[in-house]
Amino acid sequence: MTTRVKVKKHQRTREPLAFPMMLYAVLFVGVSLLYIVGLSLMTRGADFTAGAPYGLQNYERIISPLYVKSLLQSLRLAFFTALFCMLLGYPFAYFMAKASPKARTWIMMLLIVPFWTNALIRIYGWKILFSTSGPINAALIGIGLIQRPLRLLYTDFAVQVGMIYAMIPFMVLPVYSSVERMDWSTVEASRDLGATPLKAFLTVTLPMTLPGVLAGLVLTFIPSIGLFFLSDLLGGSNTMLWGNMVHNELLKSRDLPFAAALSVVLLGLTGIVILIYRRMGGRAESMVF
């Protein structure tokens, strides 16, 4: 009873301190979201304007093979991005956390430094790598694996690789922080109780670092649906991801309300993913590294 009273008191004293943060959230997140939702219910006018008639007409337009196909393509790409980021990022994060503090600093640098370079420049790097006369094709021809250069650039494959490349730090960092927080004596205990190293990993290390993995999956999946410049630069003409759709409607067709409706769908998807994440026991704190 006394503890309950204490907790309440404690929370109450903290509430005023949280107020500026809440104001910030309401102003910059809440208001702009409401604006987008409102906009999505309007009809386009001339030159970036929107107005009556109001209704669900924009959403009706979305239910068409073109957009459904784009949505599925986006989800598939995001799914594989998250999956490969996990498969590649987990071991990376694991060994990074187990490395000596000195080695850890270096690996962390290798992971962070590319972020200081403009994302577009890094994508152009991939363009060079993937081009017909680029190093990948040259190497494959060099070792005699292929006769003529492969078409790598402007394919879904290129987009997928670029996406994994761009997203992998968002998997590595939360996984790293959960591996780093591991109490390794539990792994020793599992070995002591008869688990082989593999079984100890599967039954103890993996479940205990799962919050990091879940956070990583969410952090890689969600942005992957919306990233448009990657598929613009690396993808072919038929790579139309959801992000590209929003981008095109906004800047090419200049249809603000329709772009807003597409964005609302994306928001809804994000909400569902977060909901699933919470259901699986994920916590917002795990995403902070």
Binding site: D183, S185, T186, E188, A189, S190, R191, D192, L193, G194, A195, T196, K199, T203, V204, P207, M208, L210
Partner: protein, 365 residues
Amino acid sequence: MPEERSVLLSLKGLRKTFDTQEAVSGIDLDVYAGEFLTLLGPSGCGKTTTLRIIAGLEMPTAGAVYLDGQDITGLAPEKRAVNTVFQNYALFPHMNVYKNIAYGLTMRNTPKKEIAQKVAEMLELVQLTGYEKRMPSQLSGGQRQRVAIARSLVLSPKLLLLDEPLGALDLQLRRSMQQELKRMQQRLGITFIYITHDQEEALTMSDRIALMREGKFVQLDTPKGLYERPQTAFAASFIGETNLISATAQAVKDDEVLLDIAGFDLPCYDSDWITPGETLLLSLRAERLHLSCEPVNTTCWVSGELVESHYAGGERSSTIKLPDGQLLRARSTTEGEREPTLGSTVYCWWNKEAGVLVRDDREDA
């Protein structure tokens, strides 16, 4: 008689070096089946490392570990019939009590029915029936402790290693868990190797105590032997409260040494390593000293000035300054005493066997 019992575990010339630091420097030990052996020592003396080597969690730099006569030095921890209760319990936080206890059996592919039965038995043994569904985070320290023990005992190991299992508990719980553990050990007949830095815990629970210091055994003895007949100054001062008084051996006769302490002639039982003329240390337990205001008619006594005296109910703790300046701390009974006055001359006496000659290893540290 320990000699008649079979040896379960043997450590031979065990050494472990971390970088340049030697944590274990040459340990030989035979542990008998059913024994409760305690590794006692200050922190950093190598007791945990020794335990981890036995568990297979650490590879020795040199030496060998034998379990039941088999060399298990290179064996992985999961292949040893040895289980460990870790210092911080190391319970699996993502599993409930039932799954924690069942873990080892699951790893052995024990049938589900048998697991359920054995876990139930264990829960009863550690008095946690009904807690199956609780997560470790929902348990108190004492309960976690008991789950950790049950998790290891359920595998019926030949040898259970316990690394300061009661270290995180408060004093009262500690005392009751000590008795509980000892009862469990006797009932199940499992050999325990127990680590503690609490001398009282070691004395009350163990069959034998290995007192460790800087990676070596200082003395391996029964609790009584360690307390009554310490061999070195370190052993004497680590356990209980003792006075280490410098003395000179005057003569060695039969089984007796005649000592000179501050001008008093004091007989003492011989230790075979003494040569006349040598300067020695005599260990005198504070509570084995008696205090008197009048001269006493015994063989072992000294007198000096009473410089400090505190009445503490059942006993009086006093400091006596000998003529040569050495201080003697005594915890004498207050029963029927005549209250001594500070500054007066008091007589301090003891039974001959209460004085033990010890080797001076204080400088070694």
